[in-house]
């Protein structure tokens, strides 16, 4: 029983190790290929994608380290997209109200003449 459990965890660890080595190799190949390399077929695409994810991971790491030091991180300096959307919706609503008000004025003017 104990052997089975150990074997299971060994297989689990081996899977992780193999996946990690595979990923590192893919990132390396993706870095070497650069953006041009991604057109070389499905494998080259996956390598390129892995390199892009690794780049993003490094950025995330830097941000987390900066946050731990109490510094402002890049992600927080960008405007909140939801807030921006809301601002646009309000602007659009204002535009529609401007439009309706103008239409109303026209109707009043026409009915008065």
């Amino acid at each position: 029983m104990t052997d089975d459990v150990m074997r299971f965890f060994a297989a689990w660890m081996l899977t992780h190790e193999a996946a990690d080595e595979g990923l590192k190799a893919a990132v390396l190949r993706g870095d070497e290929g650069g953006p041009e390399g991604m057109g070389g077929g499905p494998d080259a695409f996956v390598d390129g994608l892995a390199a892009m994810v690794a780049e993003e991971k490094e950025k995330l790491k830097r941000d987390l380290e900066a946050r731990a030091r109490g510094e402002e991180v890049s992600i927080e300096t960008q405007p909140d997209p939801a807030l921006e959307d809301l601002r646009f919706e309000v602007g659009e609503l204002r535009g529609r109200l401007d439009n309706i008000e103008s239409l109303l004025e026209t109707l009043v003017r026409k009915s008065g003449s």
């Binding site: 297989a11 081996l14 899977t15 193999a18 996946a19 953006p35 991604m38 057109g39 077929g41 499905p42 695409f45 390129g48 994608l49 892009m52 994810v53 921006e84 646009f88 602007g91 659009e92 204002r94 535009g95 529609r96 401007d98 439009n99 008000e101 103008s102 239409l103 026209t106 003017r109 026409k110 003449s113």
Partner: protein, 452 residues
């Protein structure tokens, strides 16, 4: 109505009869004959006015439905008509607002800036500061473009659509079209024209475009001045620069064509793959460029929309183009509504493989138009119905490629799409529902490798 029908029939007959000598009285080789008759149709449409000019523009984006010759002729159709006198335009403005143009704006120029089949554009200046939907306030004195629907245009177009149904049947009988559903085409046409006739739709889309590109100062669209806009009058910022049809002048003023081509194509990909809404009437006259390499998109009369699912499927079709994978192209085209009958799959797959293999130009760049338009044609030849939105997008991408290559011949438009498609495919890979579906199989495969 009867007299208009007679005019239509008479105009078409006159041009077709006039084309007979060029067509060798029907005995000339196929291409020569079709070109002569296609030219006659184009001239007829130009003579018959707004509805037919718009119909011609719709035909020009349907290579799946019509012959190459007719599509090419309709693409060259000029939507420039003699300007109406200012008095007629002023009358429309008066009827919309109950006021004279000078009461609405600080100044109004009677000389038109442009005149097309549906609308005419005049220059004016803003009387009071206005805060548009997005961006900085427009100060008083800002130059505006006032687009006014030509009087009677809406009525005549709608009346002509009714008459055009009988004409469509004639088109089908003359075998100009390979496979043709006149009623479906007319429904699509009526919808497009209805949207174009309500200028508020254009204003809203232009504002939305400005918002979408708020982080890119090099891509702009005219913002709408809503208090002086109605369904028939659109007041918007006046864009200055050169149309892409005047690119030689722009080059002489130091415009960087390479940057412009790449940025313009990227901006279009962003519309398609990020926002799922795109300017579907792009041609050199609808794009402006300024000396500081800013691109201004004009005339949002025809707009394409994609759902999230459609964006994903389009992305997969693009990936198929990159990997030359006909099965992937067919699989995701089917999800976009391209229903290939089982007995045709093999024929279409083989022909598609040929198209994908022939996508590369001698300089190593990819020719999207070769693939996209060839694919539409292939489906048309095999009597496979193409959803209009799919056809519109492929045609728009081919047009963007054409415009970009006119600026910079070595550009590879598929390259500009790649960062967007990569990101979308990457996001899809992280989708929990997909992970839930795929992870068991992935683990099984990994275990098989380990124990092999």
């Amino acid at each position: 109505m009867a007299s208009r029908r007679l005019t239509i029939v008479g105009t078409v007959a006159r041009h077709l009869i006039g084309a007979l000598p060029a067509a060798g009285f029907g005995l000339a080789p196929g291409t020569v004959r079709r070109t002569a008759f296609a030219r006659a149709w184009r001239r007829s449409f130009e003579d018959l006015g707004p509805a037919f000019i718009k119909l011609g523009q719709l035909i020009s984006v349907r290579p799946d439905e019509f012959s190459d010759e007719l599509v090419a002729e309709m693409q060259s159709m000029q939507d420039a008509v003699p300007a109406l006198p200012a008095a007629a335009i002023r009358a429309v403005i008066r009827s919309e607002f109950g006021r004279e143009p000078e009461e609405l704006w600080a100044s109004f120029d009677d000389a038109p800036v442009a005149s097309a089949s549906i609308a005419q554009v005049h220059r004016a200046t803003l009387a009071q500061p206005y805060k548009p939907v997005w961006g900085v306030e427009l100060p008083a004195g800002t130059t505006l473009a006032i687009k006014v629907v030509r009087p009677g245009a809406a009525e005549s177009i709608r009346a002509d659509i009714a008459i055009a149904r009988s004409l469509m049947e004639r088109v089908a009988r003359m075998r100009i079209s390979r496979r043709f559903d006149p009623i479906a085409l007319l429904d699509e046409f009526a919808l497009t024209v209805d949207r174009e006739l309500d200028l508020r739709m254009e204003g809203r889309f232009a504002d939305r475009f400005t918002f979408d590109f708020r982080d890119d100062p090099k891509v702009v669209a005219p913002r709408t001045v809503w208090p002086t806009t109605t369904a028939r009058v659109l007041a918007m910022e006046f864009m200055t620069g050169w149309r892409l049809s005047e690119i030689e002048t722009a080059k002489a003023h130091g415009v960087d064509c390479y940057a412009l081509a790449v940025h313009g194509a990227t901006a279009f990909m962003r519309q398609v793959f990020v926002y799922g809404r795109y300017h579907a009437d792009l041609h050199p006259a609808n794009l402006f460029v300024t000396p500081d390499n800013t691109i201004a998109y004009l005339d949002f009369g025809i707009v394409g929309f994609l759902t999230d699912e459609e964006r994903m499927n389009i992305t997969q079709v693009m990936a198929a183009l990159v990997y030359r994978d006909p099965d992937r192209a067919l699989k995701y085209s089917a999800k976009l509504g391209v229903d290939v009958p089982a007995d045709r799959v093999e024929v279409v797959r083989t022909a598609l493989g040929g198209l994908l293999d022939g996508t590369y130009r001698p300089d190593g760049t990819r020719d999207f138009a070769h693939f996209g338009l060839g694919f539409l044609k292939l489906l048309g030849e095999n009597d496979i119905k193409i959803p209009s939105g799919y056809g519109l997008l492929i045609k728009s991408l081919a047009t963007v490629e054409g415009v970009a290559r006119a600026l910079y011949p070595e550009i590879d438009i598929v390259e500009t799409a790649k960062p967007f498609t990569t990101r979308i495919l990457g996001q899809a890979m992280g989708d929990p529902a997909r992970l839930y579906e795929r992870i068991p199989a992935a683990i099984r495969a990994a275990m098989r490798e380990i124990v092999a």
